[in-house]
């Protein structure tokens, strides 16, 4: 299958030109993904494998940002829960990636809770101090200060790689409102980062 069919999932598509929400959502690609989901719901593992390949980068980015470190188990857990809960998924026009995003959020929360039980929270940053990890931790800390809607817009656009239309469908709003929320969120992030600098 064409793993690049779902444009919103690849890191390359989260560069500035892809953020306009234009041209990033081919109807064919969307229809193809719907067909894959339906087959996977019927127990077709190959179809689920294609979905896995398509969305693995986005889920990895989400988990990495949420947890502050790579966690293959958490990534695997997201897809495992997706497979087990696939029958409950209903195509209501909301992108499949948004459904995965919801699962990833819960997995990350569970993982952080478990980590909090296993080790003191103060020790978490010491696991990785490479520059990119530090940058991710800084950005994550700032994102956590955002209101829920703005945080969702940032995560869905920059980490999941959705277009404005897809984010709008996921959040039940308009692409224009998503655009406004995105820049407002970036302004708030800039303020938080400046305070912390």
């Amino acid at each position: 299958m064409e793993v690049s069919a779902f444009r919103g999932s690849t890191p390359a598509n989260i560069s500035a030109p892809s953020l306009d929400g234009k041209g990033g959502d081919e109807p064919d690609a969307r229809e193809h993904e719907r067909a894959l989901v339906r087959r996977a719901q019927d127990g077709d593992r190959d179809a689920f494998g294609d979905l896995y390949r398509t969305h693995l980068p986005a889920v990895s980015r989400l988990v990495r940002f949420r947890l502050g470190a790579e966690d293959q188990d958490a990534v695997s857990e997201v897809f495992l829960r997706a497979w087990r809960g696939l029958r409950s998924y209903r195509d209501t026009g909301v992108p499949f990636a948004a459904w995965l995003y919801g699962i990833a959020r819960h997995v990350a929360i569970d993982s952080l809770r478990k980590r909090g039980r296993d080790e003191p929270r103060d020790e978490l940053p010491e696991h990785g101090v490479e520059p990119m990890t530090a940058e991710i931790l800084t950005l994550r800390g700032a994102i956590e200060h955002l209101p829920t809607e703005q945080r969702q817009v940032i995560e869905l656009k920059y980490l999941v790689g959705m277009t404005n239309e897809e984010v709008a469908a996921a959040m039940g709003t308009t692409p224009g409102a998503v655009n406004a929320k995105q820049w407002r969120a970036l302004k708030a992030l800039a303020d938080v980062l400046e305070e912390r600098a």
Partner: protein, 212 residues
């Protein structure tokens, strides 16, 4: 939507160059673009795990039986509490046993001796006899006190707890009138004093000398 929002959208759609955007909005736009670049760079730098290895791991987890979650989690604290309580109980029993063997008397549980300390029979008539209602009305002197008086008059006979129980109760039975209804206060005739032991006619108040 503000003019800045609109121009930022235009920049994102490549309808407006970065230079044009900065020229129009200056520092306000520069700050947003900087954060946008940081987010984009950090997201792009996240290493994507090997698809095939990850898929193989996932398939293994899918095929594995779902873990059985026990309805009750093990509770180490509860186990510890029960162990400590059991140890204390055993230690108490062992201590009581060792004290009993040192005194040369049979081992008696502290529970059986405790009521005797609080009762009016001064602990000499058997610990198991409960204090009776006549305990405070009967003079504690030997001359006025019928044999087996007080709480032990009735209960004493059955209160042979192994110490000296039954001694007073037996004498009370021997000295009492067969028609007596004094309810165990002594042999004071065939009247019913409801246990007050006044020795007068039925219904008369007890003498003041009895401590009322």
């Amino acid at each position: 939507m503000s003019e800045l929002d609109r121009d930022l959208g235009a920049w994102a759609r490549e309808e407006l160059s970065r230079e044009q955007l900065l020229a129009v909005h200056g520092a306000a736009a520069a700050a947003l673009i900087a954060v946008h670049d940081r987010l984009t760079g950090a997201a792009a730098a996240v290493a994507v795990p090997s698809v095939e290895a990850g898929w193989a791991t996932l398939i293994a987890r899918i095929d594995a039986p779902a873990p059985v979650v026990p309805l009750r989690r093990p509770r180490p604290r509860r186990t510890l509490s029960i162990a400590v309580a059991a140890a204390l109980a055993l230690a108490g029993i062992a201590y009581a046993g060792s004290r009993g063997s040192h005194d040369g008397s049979p081992a008696v549980s502290p529970v059986t001796t405790a009521p005797a300390l609080a009762g009016p029979s001064f602990g000499s008539h058997g610990g198991r006899s409960a204090p009776g209602p006549t305990a405070s009305t009967v003079p504690p002197t030997a001359s006025h006190r019928p044999s087996g008086s007080g709480a032990s008059a009735h209960g004493g006979a059955g209160a042979s707890s192994g110490i000296r129980g039954g001694e007073g109760g037996g004498s009370a039975k021997r000295a009492d009138d067969p028609h007596d209804r004094d309810q165990g206060t002594g042999d004071d005739g065939s009247h019913n004093d409801h246990g007050s032991g006044n020795n007068g006619p039925e219904g008369s108040p007890p003498p003041e000398s009895h401590g009322r």
